[in-house]
Every structure is written in structure tokens, then in C-alpha cells.
């Protein structure tokens, strides 16, 4: 059964009820056991668990160190296009926003320039991003960009629109290690309200995309909900389900979870369910206890002070020194539309120094071209 069918067993009312009715005793049970169930996850996401954040944090830190050691991986995003056919009310790339700014898709030589700039800053892992424009930036174009990036980086991942299995197979052949695809919100009604046009309107098509990527041989699958669109605890419950589903079906792919949070910005969109720092922390801790072996990413959407705290509470991977506009590192100017404003503007080296101060080793390289093709003698 596809995940889009499986999730129907847990409609919003049922999940809300389960989370709201969790008792302190249920939270303690969830803390005590090793193999946690969905009932335990609901308890850890519940209001009753708010008074257990410290013991949850201790457990989360121990589990993270057990499976990942004292390390934090670093990566950088490269936006290769900001063209977008979708109209997602929360997004800087939405077809109807940023009318005075430029829409571009980087040419090959510009991708080279961007890659060179990032490789010089120490990065060995990049995430290529586009908008939702499968007609103008088709899978072949993304695969070509990935091949260029692979000349500079041992690990290339992508965060693009949902594809057919054949599209993911093209990426896999181009050496793409990971695919990130946020469901944005797992609540079907909210999903409908915020996605106003394009292929992205299809909730189930998007929800089942990572399974297609896994079947195409993509080695790392990253899920996420855009926090702020719907109740964060329910999103956490569904993400936990989704993660376990992918671990079961795509058993040769590693799982990661991202925690992108919409912040209060003066744009045309006000997130209906803003998530506080304490709620974000509770979500990360609950997810760590439910998915101990999953990688957890935190982007530069979050401010430096919070990121500094979260490196020891379950996060295993961070972006640094990011730009969210195509050409933003070297090849283009500020007249190009960006997706969102970053909060942590520190340089990669400053972020790495912070990681070292926290007693952790910043890891730049954690993958090799040799996994997917014969490589030249270094």
C-alpha cells in the first residue's frame, strides 16, 4: 500500500485526539521503552510532554551520539533556477510573487562558477534546488547540472519538484546521492488551501514521490514539513509515520528529516500556526526518540543562537553560508529573486568553529564518487 493510502488510517481528527489525550504516564512510558510506537510518538509530541523536555533532550543527545558519533555534516544549497509554475502562498518563488525581480535558470558556465566558489569555501556536499517548473527545467536539465556539480563535489543532492520514477532514475545515473522533498503539510485540507496551481496541487502525487525516488536507487531520502502551515505536533506524527514507512519499503535508502520553519515575515503570507522555539525543540526531540537512526537537518532559516543550541540536541547536518538566489555565491547580482531570507548569515568557517566549540567534528565529506562510478586515480 502506498503511503498516501496508509496515511488515511490516521486522519487529522484521530491524530489530534491521540495527541491531546496523552497523559504524563504515557510520556514516561514512551521515555522508558526502547522501541517506540506511534502511540509513544503521540505522547512525546503532546502538551503533556512539555514538562519532560530535559529528559527527552538527554535521551535524544545520547541516541544521536550513539548513531552519528560526535559529528555534524555541513552542506550548502545551490539554487540553479527560480522559475516556478506553482503558486504556493508561503513561497518567495511563487508565480505571483516578486514581480519586480528577475527569474533565471543558471547556464552551465554559471553553475561552474557557483560550484567553484563553494568548493573554495570548503564544501564537499551540495544540495541543488529549483522551483516547481518541470516544463522549463526538466529532469534532464537537473541531471546535467548534477553532473557539473559532481566535478566539484563528492556528494550532490537535489531538492526539486516531484518526479516520475524515470526522472529520479536520470538523477541517480547522474550521480545524485540524495533527494529532498518536503510534503510542506501532511494535512490534506491545508495542503489544498496553500497550493493554488500546477502539478504541486496533487497531494498524493507528491506524498508518494520519495518512494519512487527510493525505487530508482536514490540513496538518501529527506522528508519534511514546512512548520507553520498546520499544527506542528500532528505534522510530527505524520512525518514519523512517513519516515518509518520509507525505512520499511525503501530499505536500501537512508532517511533524513528536515525541520524548515516559517518565520514571521512582512511578506503577503502570515503563517497561520507559527511554531515557537520550545515547540520546535520538542518536535526535534520527539522525532529523534522515534527515528534514532535518521539524519536530522537544520538550515540557515534558523537564527545563529538557536542553531548553536540545537547542534547537541539531535541535529546531524547543517547548511552554512547559504544563498537562496540563483547565482547568489558568485555569478549573479541581488536583482535575482531569492526564495527566503536566511537568518544565520555566518560564514561556513565560523559555523564550523562553533561546531568544534560544541565538542563536535564538522564533517565536510561523507560520500564518494566511487560509489556510483569508476573514478580517475587521484
Amino acid at each position: 500500500m502506498a503511503f498516501s493510502s496508509e496515511i488515511r488510517q490516521w486522519p487529522p481528527e484521530r491524530v489530534q485526539e491521540l495527541i491531546a489525550s496523552a497523559t504524563p504516564a504515557a510520556v514516561e512510558r514512551a521515555l522508558d521503552r526502547e522501541d517506540r510506537t506511534l502511540i509513544d510518538l503521540a505522547a512525546l509530541l503532546s502538551p503533556a510532554a512539555r514538562s519532560y523536555l530535559e529528559p527527552m533532550a538527554r535521551l535524544a543527545r545520547r541516541l544521536t551520539r550513539q548513531y552519528f558519533g560526535r559529528t555534524i555534516s555541513l552542506y550548502a544549497p545551490i539554487y540553479i533556477s527560480n522559475l516556478c509554475a506553482a503558486d504556493c502562498v508561503y513561497c518567495g518563488f511563487a508565480a505571483k510573487s516578486g514581480l519586480r525581480l528577475r527569474r533565471v535558470t543558471l547556464k552551465d558556465h554559471e553553475i561552474h562558477v557557483e560550484c567553484r566558489a563553494l568548493a573554495e569555501r570548503g564544501f564537499r556536499h551540495v544540495l541543488l534546488l529549483t522551483g516547481e517548473a518541470p516544463a522549463k527545467v526538466p529532469p534532464e536539465r537537473i541531471a546535467a547540472a548534477a553532473r557539473i556539480a559532481a566535478e566539484y563535489f563528492p556528494s550532490v543532492s537535489v531538492e526539486v519538484y516531484a518526479m516520475e520514477t524515470s526522472g529520479y532514475a536520470l538523477l541517480q545515473e547522474a550521480g545524485v546521492e540524495g533527494v529532498t522533498l518536503y510534503q510542506e503539510t501532511y494535512d490534506p485540507d491545508t495542503y489544498r488551501q496553500v497550493h493554488l496551481s500546477g502539478q504541486k496541487m496533487d497531494y498524493a502525487w507528491r506524498l508518494d514521490a520519495l518512494e519512487r525516488a527510493g525505487r530508482a536507487g536514490i540513496r538518501r531520502l529527506t522528508i519534511g514539513a514546512l512548520l507553520g502551515l498546520y499544527d506542528w505536533a500532528c505534522e510530527g506524527f505524520w512525518m514519523g509515520m512517513h519516515g518509518r514507512y520509507l525505512q520499511r519499503i525503501c530499505w536500501q535508502s537512508a532517511l533524513s528529516v528536515s525541520f524548515p520553519r516559517l518565520r514571521h515575515t512582512p511578506s503577503r503570507f502570515r503563517p497561520p500556526r507559527l511554531v515557537s522555539d520550545a515547540e520546535l525543540v520538542q518536535l526535534i526531540l520527539a522525532m529523534r526518540l522515534f527515528l534514532p537512526q535518521a539524519g536530522f537537518n537544520l538550515s540557515t532559516r534558523e537564527p545563529a543562537a538557536l542553531r548553536d543550541r540545537l547542534v547537541t540536541l539531535g541535529i546531524t547536518s547543517m547548511s552554512a553560508g547559504s544563498s537562496t538566489r540563483p547565482g547568489g555565491y558568485a555569478s549573479r547580482g541581488e536583482d535575482v529573486l531569492e526564495q527566503f531570507e536566511i537568518e544565520d548569515t555566518r560564514s561556513p568557517e565560523t559555523v564550523a568553529a562553533m561546531i568544534r566549540r560544541a565538542g563536535l567534528d564538522p564533517v565536510w565529506k561523507d560520500y564518494d564518487h566511487a560509489f556510483f562510478r569508476e573514478t580517475a586515480t587521484p
Binding site: R65, Q66, Y67, F68, G69, R70, T71, R124, P154, R219, Q247, W251, Q252, S253, A254, L255, Q293, R356, G359, L360, D361, V363, K365, D366, Y367, D368, A370, F371, F372, R373, E374, T375, T377, P378
Partner: protein, 278 residues
């Protein structure tokens, strides 16, 4: 009787030999989880380890850098044992091994073929295939395997330099959970048996050595300790103690205290003969 050999076995007269190379230390160290290159260097020094395994996916062989894993190791004192961690198929592992050799690392490889990233359990089929190819190409192959005595025999028949059965899943710190199968592997071994993965405390390492393992490999338990160097030293001592105990002949386990001959003692008793009477 030779007092020094039977009563005080000297660890230095009992070297570990793998593929004709002699090692004094029976503790191997994994490197992927240390907080810094410096912590790794200190732990390796404190433990006296002479075999240190390095994930090829984590090192940049084309441009070695200050502060990376390789910079923490001294090739004159430690054998840098490249491992294929992250490989899912025999082909991937073979490519990684060739890459390491062509970059100037010794032609030794710890085969790690773990197609499922959750528990990182080894794939017996791909491991056997990769071992066949790499042994033929002249590599010294040390395969990480499930504690499967038949697989261990198949691998040593192919010509691997060791077998490395897991005590418990990587990073689980659960100790020698596969004890019964490891006993059989050791009993049948014609190559050194290295218990790898799952050893969470020095007492676990001692247990593996008391069983007769030739060496152990530890990563998480040392890297994650509050003081990795001190924990590395503690593991080294436990490995020596366990080895010494095995050589001295560890007494078998008993369920309860026993009289010396509770079942047959009657045969030799001077009175109360229970046999047939006249």
C-alpha cells in the same frame, strides 16, 4: 616446566599475525565518530592500537587536509586500514578498494557492505562476491560479517586474511550478543577472528577475548566517551586481560557450586558400599 610461559603469559610473545604482518596490539580502532582529529590521535596513542580503520567516503584522497582523519594517523606506527563503509554492492566496494590502493594506501581493505542504512548489518552475498574479486586482485581482505560460521568458513576458504563477525549491530553498545555463533567461528577458524561492532564497554572486549577472539575492533564506545583517550586505554587493558585469561585457560561457567565428584564419588568411598551384597 617453563614458569614464564604457563603462569605469566607475556603479551609481547603472543603477537597477532594477519597476512604475515605482525602486530603487538589486539585492539583495532574505528575512526568515524570522534569529536576531532586531535581526540582521535590521542585515543590511538593511548591505546597502542596498530590498526586504525578509516572510511574512504570520509577522506578526500585527492586533497588531504589539515585536521582530517588521515592527518591524525602516523603510517609508520599504525596500519591505516581503509574501509568501504557505505557500499551497498560488491562493485561499489571493489571500486572503493581500488581507489584507496591507487591513492597509495596499503592494499588492505576492511570490507563493509551494508545495504541497509538503519542497522548497518552486513550483506553476506555481496561481501562474499567482493571478497572473491579483491582476493584475486591481491588485496588483504578483512570482511565485516554477521556472526555466521558457514559464511566465515566460505570466506577463509576464498583467502580472506581475517573474518570480522559482529558482536551486535554497529553503535548499539550491546556487547557480545552473538556469543554462541562466535564460539563456533573461533573453533573453526583458520584465520584470525576479529570481533567487530557492538562492543560498548571494556568488559565486552574482555569477554570476546576470553572466548578466544584474536582481536576486537571498537569505535563508538571510545569516540563517544567523555574522555576518549582514557577509554581507549581501558579497552586496550581489557583486551590484554581477556587475551591473557584465554591463554591461561578460562574456567568454564558452572550453574552452581559443585562437590568434586557428586555423581561418581560413591565408587571410591571406603564405607557404605551400595553395590550388590553377599
Amino acid at each position: 616446566m617453563n614458569f614464564s610461559e604457563t603462569v605469566n603469559p607475556n603479551i609481547f610473545s603472543d603477537p597477532l599475525v594477519i597476512a604475515d604482518r605482525t602486530f603487538r596490539s589486539r585492539l583495532m580502532i574505528g575512526t568515524g565518530k570522534f569529536p576531532s582529529a586531535r581526540a582521535l590521535r590521542e585515543a590511538v596513542a593511548a591505546s597502542g592500537a596498530e590498526i586504525v580503520t578509516v572510511a574512504l567516503r570520509r577522506v578526500d584522497l585527492s586533497r588531504p587536509e589539515e585536521g582530517d582523519i588521515l592527518s591524525a594517523l602516523d603510517p609508520n606506527r599504525q596500519l591505516v586500514l581503509p574501509n568501504t563503509s557505505g557500499a551497498r554492492t560488491a562493485e561499489e566496494a571493489v571500486r572503493l578498494a581500488r581507489l584507496a590502493r591507487s591513492a597509495g594506501l596499503p592494499p588492505w581493505v576492511k570490507l563493509e557492505l551494508t545495504p541497509e542504512p538503519k542497522y548497518l548489518l552486513p550483506d553476506p552475498v555481496e561481501t562474499l562476491r567482493a571478497a572473491e574479486i579483491l582476493v584475486k586482485e591481491g588485496f588483504v581482505v578483512l570482511p565485516y560479517i554477521q556472526a555466521d560460521p558457514v559464511l566465515a568458513r566460505r570466506l577463509q576458504d576464498i583467502g580472506t586474511a581475517t573474518v570480522m563477525p559482529l558482536g551486535a549491530p554497529i553503535g548499539s553498545n550491546r556487547g557480545v550478543r552473538t556469543r554462541d555463533m562466535i564460539r563456533i567461528i573461533i573453533e573453526q577458524a583458520t584465520v584470525p577472528v576479529v570481533v567487530d561492532a557492538g562492543l560498548g564497554a571494556p568488559s565486552h572486549a574482555a569477554e570476546a577475548m576470553e572466548l578466544g577472539a584474536d582481536a576486537v575492533l571498537v569505535n563508538t564506545a571510545i569516540a563517544d566517551a567523555a574522555d576518549p583517550a582514557a577509554m581507549a586505554r581501558a579497552f586496550a587493558m581489557a583486551v590484554e586481560a581477556g587475551r591473557m585469561a584465554w591463554r591461561a585457560g578460562v574456567a568454564p561457567e558452572r550453574d552452581a557450586a559443585e562437590a568434586s565428584s557428586p555423581l561418581t564419588g560413591f565408587l571410591f568411598e571406603t564405607s557404605g558400599n551400595v553395590g550388590p551384597r553377599d
